[in-house]
């Protein structure tokens, strides 16, 4: 069979079938098109300004590695004038982070960017391994997600940087849309798709330049540019709703490859249709603080533990039972309320600062501090007093060495 020519340049031999639209492309055209699309996203959304210092949330995985490579390329090609650096979080999962952090360190050298590594043990006094020891394997992604979210912001704060970019791709965004629909979480549905989450309340702005990039294309890009990244999956299973949504999306992609973007499109539309009482003026701010707070980590393979779904099921059944007991009362004044948006009951959120750590939160105490409370309550007394210290008895000496090295390379 004769080789198919590239759909774009019609000259070179096509070696790639784009997962997004099944165009057959040559290597050079694919890389160029991929980069141009990210560039269009960046310029269309006015993500950056000249001279801005930007931290790339780097995990050593494919998404953040591709993000770093593309941003470096685009920064030079289109002269964005950005000051880029890498920011890594060490969750303290043995066998998962050790190698990927080595990758990040190599990336820092390859892309000539400064690197800062921040550990959970340093920030919270708990490594993820310790958390799992304490809470078991179910629901630990909640801790990881909540802790990481704040960790990136705090890390950026320490570096004096106002803008963190993350490697969330279209698959992640689609997954979040589906997950929030399954969970019935309207506030998050209203903000999960926005490309930038920033606020007056927080100094740190977050954005996802790869929001429209397919995970499969990110892998292809990394492969064809021979990027140095680390392939691994988190050894702890993802949260059930996310796992369920992930499995669903993998099936959808098999049926209709465009469905990932179609879901993102639906998500964007629905976000605008969420009643204002729910999304409110705090829409963007809440995003900065709590987006994906209960989410997983974007890896894993869709195994479902089912704990969260079962818990929600129980709650809903109880609500239902309670509601059926009050039927009589509702009938007398019900009737008309069914019609129109006024009858639709919704929960509103307001934003405050956490009383403990001053992080933005819709509650009095932010999610991370609440989780930490729960953890610390069950910990031997000696450790409670050193919740943020390096003296933590279990902080490994390897980690401390890594930290010191990271600080050296960051300066």
């Amino acid at each position: 069979m004769a080789p198919t020519p590239c759909f774009n340049c019609k000259e070179a031999r096509a070696v790639i079938i784009r997962p997004k639209n099944r165009h057959k492309l040559c290597r050079a055209c694919f890389i160029n098109i991929f980069e141009t699309e990210v560039h269009e996203t960046i310029t269309g959304a006015n993500l950056f300004f000249r001279g801005e210092r930007v931290a790339i949330g780097a995990s050593g995985g494919k998404d953040s590695t591709v993000l770093a490579a593309v941003l470096k390329t685009l920064n030079e090609r289109y002269d964005y004038g950005l000051d880029l650096c890498l920011l890594s979080i060490d969750e303290g999962i043995r066998g998962y982070r050790d190698d990927s952090l080595e990758t990040v360190k190599r990336n820092a050298v390859q892309y000539e960017m400064p690197l800062k590594i921040l550990g959970y043990s340093e920030l919270y006094g708990w490594t993820m391994d310790q958390v799992v020891q304490q809470v078991g394997k179910k629901g630990n992604c909640t801790y990881c997600g909540v802790f990481r979210r704040q960790a990136l912001d705090r890390g950026a704060g320490r570096l004096g940087i106002q803008h963190v970019v993350t490697g969330h791709n279209a698959d992640d965004v689609a997954e979040t849309v589906m997950m929030n629909l399954l969970r019935g979480d309207l506030p998050r549905l209203s903000r999960g798709t926005s490309i930038v989450t920033a606020s007056d309340a927080s100094d740190i702005k977050r954005s996802k330049p790869l929001k429209y990039a397919y995970e499969k294309e990110i892998v292809l890009y990394a492969h064809h540019r021979q990027l140095d990244y680390f392939t691994t999956e988190c050894i702890y299973s993802p949260e059930a709703f996310r796992g369920s949504a992930r499995t669903l999306i993998k099936d959808l992609e098999k049926i209709r490859p465009s469905s990932i973007l179609d879901i993102v499109k639906s998500g964007e539309d629905m976000a605008a249709l969420v009643p204002t009482g729910v999304s409110g003026s705090g829409k963007q701010m809440a995003g900065a603080a709590e987006d994906e707070s209960a989410g997983g980590c974007g890896s894993g393979n869709g195994r479902t533990s089912g704990g969260e779904m079962a818990a929600m099921e129980k709650q809903l059944t109880e609500n239902d039972a309670a509601e059926s007991r009050e039927t009589e009362i509702k009938i007398s004044n019900g009737g008309r309320a069914i019609r129109g948006p006024t009858g639709k009951a919704v929960k509103a959120q307001t934003l405050k600062h956490c009383e403990r750590c001053n992080y933005i939160s819709s509650q009095r105490i932010c999610k991370a501090c609440t989780l930490l409370d729960g953890l610390n309550r069950n910990r031997p007394k000696t450790a409670i007093e050193v919740s943020v210290g390096m003296e933590d008895e279990e902080a490994s000496s390897t980690l401390m060495r890594q930290m010191e090295r990271a600080q050296l390379s960051a300066t």
């Binding site: 589906m178 429209y212 098999k254 209709r256 879901i263 499109k265 964007e268 089912g306 009737g335």
Partner: protein, 369 residues
């Protein structure tokens, strides 16, 4: 004190042996029917708000001979008969519409037997049966729309019958997902146009809770998130008639239970085909995938699935009243008000210069995916 000595009394009337368990309650068949009917009636009570002398609303009830719409018919009919015999005001009345199933799915003989049974068991003043291809009569511009939509993949031959032309159009659409998608759109449109022509204020759809959840998920997966406000929520449709989903509080399994205690329905209902196990996921339609997903998950987590439809029902209808809409499905073109800048719709190559919405463009003949 119970009137009779019973081994397992019904938890409501305590006057009969229980036959069914619904929502952890053991009920006799008449209490069960009352429970189900109450869930439906409370959804439609708004149409009775005018009381004795008020105008009577006319609703349109499309019946597909499936379980859900037939059960809904049974409930409404029983209520109507009870009111007539008691001399109570009806409040609303309904018109039955059957779109002949043999013109929708190419499965042999017409459903005459079922239709006759429907006329016999539910002798309503207004029952109409129309073929699917009568969409050309109810929507005169449909030929033009189809021609435009089908593009080069579809050639219309005006010398052929309406039935053949509709079949040709449907055959030009390639994938299972797109076929189901377009069929649903055309059927919905036909029902809505019929409702308008026959003076009905609202269409009452027989979608169960499970079905609505699957519809919501499938709608999102097909890029039709903005249309959920009338495809899943109770609300005004783009054609000016309201869409109501009075079965939204009932699971499919409960409707099957209801069917089992109603002998009048057995001649009418065409049982669902059991889902085949040997279909590759990639050959399923998205609607079917979601239906299976909701069924599988619903067995374990019925409340979570029910909550999906409830969540979708909380969305506000789009405020962009005068915004241009899709010629085929009447969904919004481009973005919902409030979205601008970089969005999927703005990036789509086929976004501009099209009279069709994002979701419809995905199902177009010749679309690769």
């Amino acid at each position: 004190m119970p009137a009779k000595e019973l081994n397992k009394p019904c938890m409501d009337c305590k006057n009969a042996e229980f036959e069914l368990i619904v929502r952890q309650r053991q009920l006799c068949s008449s209490c069960f029917r009352r429970f189900i009917a109450h869930k439906v009636q409370s959804r439609l009570s708004v149409y009775r708000a005018f009381g004795l002398d008020g105008p009577r609303n006319q609703l349109l009830l499309p019946v597909s001979f499936g379980v859900s719409s037939s059960v809904l018919l049974h409930i409404l009919y029983a209520d109507r008969q009870a009111r007539l015999s008691n001399g109570r005001p009806l409040g609303y009345d309904f018109h039955i519409l059957v779109i002949e199933p043999s013109t929708v799915a190419a499965t042999g003989s017409p459903f005459d037997k079922n239709y006759k049974a429907l006329q016999k068991n539910f002798p309503m003043p207004a029952i109409t049966r129309i073929p699917f291809y009568s969409i050309f009569d109810y929507v005169p511009e449909m030929q033009e729309i189809m021609k435009e939509y089908g593009g080069p993949q579809f050639t219309d031959d005006s010398s052929r019958s309406n039935g053949e032309r509709l079949a040709a159009f449907r055959a030009s659409i390639s994938t299972a997902t797109s076929k189901t998608d377009i069929d649903t759109i055309l059927l919905t449109r036909l029902v809505a146009e019929f409702a308008k022509k026959s003076g009905c204020e609202s269409v009452i759809w027989g979608d169960s809770d499970s079905r609505l959840a699957a519809k919501a998920l499938a709608g999102v997966a097909k890029g039709r998130g903005a249309s959920l406000t009338w495809q899943v929520s109770d609300g005004i449709s783009p054609w000016g008639v309201r869409f109501e989903y009075p079965l939204r509080d009932l699971f499919k399994a409960e409707l099957l239970q209801y069917e089992s205690v109603c002998a009048e329905l057995s001649d009418i209902i065409v049982p669902d085909q059991p889902p085949s196990d040997n279909v590759l996921t990639k050959n399923l339609s998205i609607d079917e995938l979601m239906l299976r997903y909701v069924q599988n998950q619903g067995a374990k987590y019925p409340g979570v699935m029910a909550n999906v439809a409830r969540t979708a029902n909380k969305l506000n209808p789009s405020t962009s009243g005068s915004a241009p809409t899709c010629a085929l499905c009447a969904g919004l073109l481009g973005n919902v008000t409030g979205n601008s800048g970089v969005t999927v719709a703005n990036q789509a190559e086929d976004n501009h210069s099209s009279q069709f919405c994002y979701g419809c463009m995905r199902s177009r003949p010749g679309e690769l995916c």
